[in-house]
């Protein structure tokens, strides 16, 4: 029998056998208070004096332990999804706090492997971090470019960024610890929206043609998934923790018009899809909503640390005649078989997601 099983059984029995009538207890408590008031003022016996003294000592001690509101930036639980965006709000199982005020509006987010630091882009376009238990922030490394679309490798040290050298576009890889930098060329392909393989030996990225992978040893980039429609885009790829699957969002334009055909509205539909790193087994998992987005950010996704589900923000879907702006839909958890669990959290405009790893569970 495991400890958790034993603990559950023992707790259930303890709770079952700790029941009492609160009505009787409450009446007894109020009588006790009245009686103690009398006894304290009367001060008639040594035993009562001892009780009263012990009670007074307990009072002083509990006065010192009256809780003050916790006053730091982050108060996240294990297995917490952090959503940053327009409101820079972190939503964590009901505990809510703000991301640092110097976080840029559309910052990437990444937890360090120990789950204790959350990396983000600050207004100086540096990669910064906030300690989730103390709220302390610090600059980790400069990006050197505006809109620092950084991605942290599983080793917690290397950061990948889209970049360009004299030879052309590619992926810049920098070590946080040493500052060392290397460059992986992607000839003819301007990479965007990167995601690391869990082994750290490859990066997946997006171009207008679709989804690619490239080895950090500089091997030729490999095209693994097309965009869903001719004028669509792939967004927000995320490599699964076990390395078997790359999830991404397919953005497809839709042009619903008014019933009489006299006007058209530009609308985008977002779909969560997956593919294996070798391009095999493409799957469509779930629609994430549609919107007349007018430049607002699309949905975001992130894998759970155990790789069992993909968390995704969603948009309130509009109809052909009433397309909606990007509004708050729920954050959902999607499994590889397409089953969906709706969480209690809502998306906000321009939400990004990061799932805190918990090494001790």
């Amino acid at each position: 029998m495991s400890l958790d099983h034993l603990a559950r059984i023992a707790t259930e029995e303890l709770l079952d056998k700790s029941g009492t009538d609160p009505g009787d207890g409450l009446a007894a408590l109020k009588r006790l208070r009245r009686r103690r008031n009398v006894e304290r003022t009367a001060a008639i016996t040594a035993a009562v004096a001892l009780v009263g003294g012990g009670w007074l000592l307990a009072q002083r001690d509990t006065k010192a332990s009256v809780p003050e509101p916790v006053d730091h930036h982050a108060n996240v639980r294990d297995a917490t999804i952090v959503a940053g965006g327009l409101h820079r709000v972190a939503v964590a199982h009901g505990d809510v706090t703000h991301l640092p005020s110097d976080a840029v509006r559309w910052t990437n987010l990444a937890f360090t492997p120990d789950g204790m630091q959350l990396l983000y882009e600050n207004r100086d376009h540096d990669v910064a971090s906030i300690d989730v238990s103390t709220g302390t922030t610090r600059t980790v490394m400069p990006c050197g470019v505006r809109r620092c679309s950084f991605e942290l490798a599983a080793d917690g040290d290397r950061i990948a960024l889209p970049g360009r050298r004299d030879a052309g576009p590619g992926v810049v890889i920098r070590s946080i610890k040493t500052g060392e930098e290397s460059f992986v060329p992607t000839p003819g392909l301007a990479p965007a929206m990167l995601t690391w393989s869990p082994t750290g030996d490859a990066v997946a990225f997006v171009t207008q043609e679709g989804l690619y992978t490239v080895g950090t040893d500089g091997t030729e980039p490999r095209w693994i998934a097309p965009v869903g429609s001719g004028s669509g885009l792939i967004r927000g790829p995320a490599w699964s923790p076990n390395g078997d699957i790359i999830a991404y969002i397919d953005q497809a334009p839709a042009y619903p018009g008014s019933p009489d055909g006299s006007t058209h509205a530009a609308m985008f539909t977002y779909t969560l899809k997956t593919v294996r790193p070798d391009g095999s087994d493409p799957r469509t998992l779930r629609g994430l909503g549609s919107c007349v987005c007018l430049g607002l950010a699309p949905p975001a996704i992130t894998w759970s640390p155990d790789g069992s589900v993909i968390a995704a923000t969603t948009l309130a879907s509009g109809s052909e005649t009433k397309p909606s702006r990007a509004t708050e839909g729920p954050i959902v958890l999607v499994s590889q078989d397409g089953s969906v669990e709706q969480t209690e959290w809502s998306s906000h405009d321009n939400t990004e997601l990061a799932w805190q790893p918990t090494p001790d569970r």
């Binding site: 029998m1 495991s2 400890l3 958790d4 099983h5 034993l6 603990a7 059984i9 023992a10 707790t11 029995e13 303890l14 709770l15 056998k17 700790s18 029941g19 009492t20 609160p22 009505g23 207890g25 409450l26 408590l29 109020k30 006790l32 208070r33 035993a47 001892l50 009780v51 012990g54 009670w55 000592l57 307990a58 009072q59 001690d61 509990t62 332990s65 009256v66 809780p67 509101p69 916790v70 108060n75 996240v76 639980r77 294990d78 409101h87 709000v89 939503v91 964590a92 199982h93 009901g94 809510v96 706090t97 204790m116 989730v132 238990s133 103390t134 209690e344 809502s346 001790d360 569970r361």
Partner: protein, 179 residues
């Protein structure tokens, strides 16, 4: 802290707390698990008295306590501290013994495996025992335990990790987490 809550989360939080301005309702909502918490941390003979003692302090200071964001966490901490404090518990034990002599029904006995489990919890270092009891009885998340015990999330994780290891050794069970 409430000012940083989005409206819908704050409303849900208040709903989940099930706390009203009335001490009577707070007492009824909290007492059962408070007794279990006390019983998990100290002798069953005095557990009910320990829980009652914590509630008495809350009752005397209800005007102040009811204004806290989480009065439920406050009373759990008070109870947990009373339960592991030998001096304060000694005072409570005097009263409990006196009440036993007045034919008050004894606490319901636990089965041997359950009794052995909670004895092992009581033998843990105080802070580990408190963290473990809060986790088991209330299924509290790390952050709430940290708030209750007035320490960091990392410290709570450490207490729980060490408590699990010590319990596994004491009870000769596996540490594997069930799927």
């Amino acid at each position: 802290m409430s000012e940083v809550f989005p409206a819908e989360v704050a409303a849900q939080h208040r709903h989940d707390r099930d706390v009203s301005g009335s001490f009577d309702e707070f007492y009824s909502a909290e007492l059962h698990r408070l007794i279990a918490l006390a019983r998990g941390l100290c002798s069953p003979i005095v557990a009910e008295d320990v829980a009652q003692e914590a509630m008495l302090v809350a009752y005397r200071r209800w005007r102040e306590i009811s204004d806290l964001e989480r009065p439920d966490l406050w009373v759990r901490r008070t109870c947990a501290n009373l339960a592991v404090s030998q001096f304060r518990r000694g005072v409570i034990e005097l009263r409990a013994v006196a009440r036993l002599s007045m034919r008050r029904p004894p606490p319901a006995e636990l089965s041997e495996p359950t009794d052995e489990f909670w004895n092992a919890v009581r033998r843990l270092p105080r802070r580990q025992a408190q963290a473990a009891a809060l986790r088991f009885i209330y299924d509290m998340p790390i952050a709430e335990i940290a708030l209750t015990m007035e320490c960091s999330d990392g410290t709570v994780k450490q207490h729980l990790s060490r408590a699990r290891q010590a319990l596994a050794v004491a009870l000769h069970v596996d540490l594997e987490v069930e799927s």
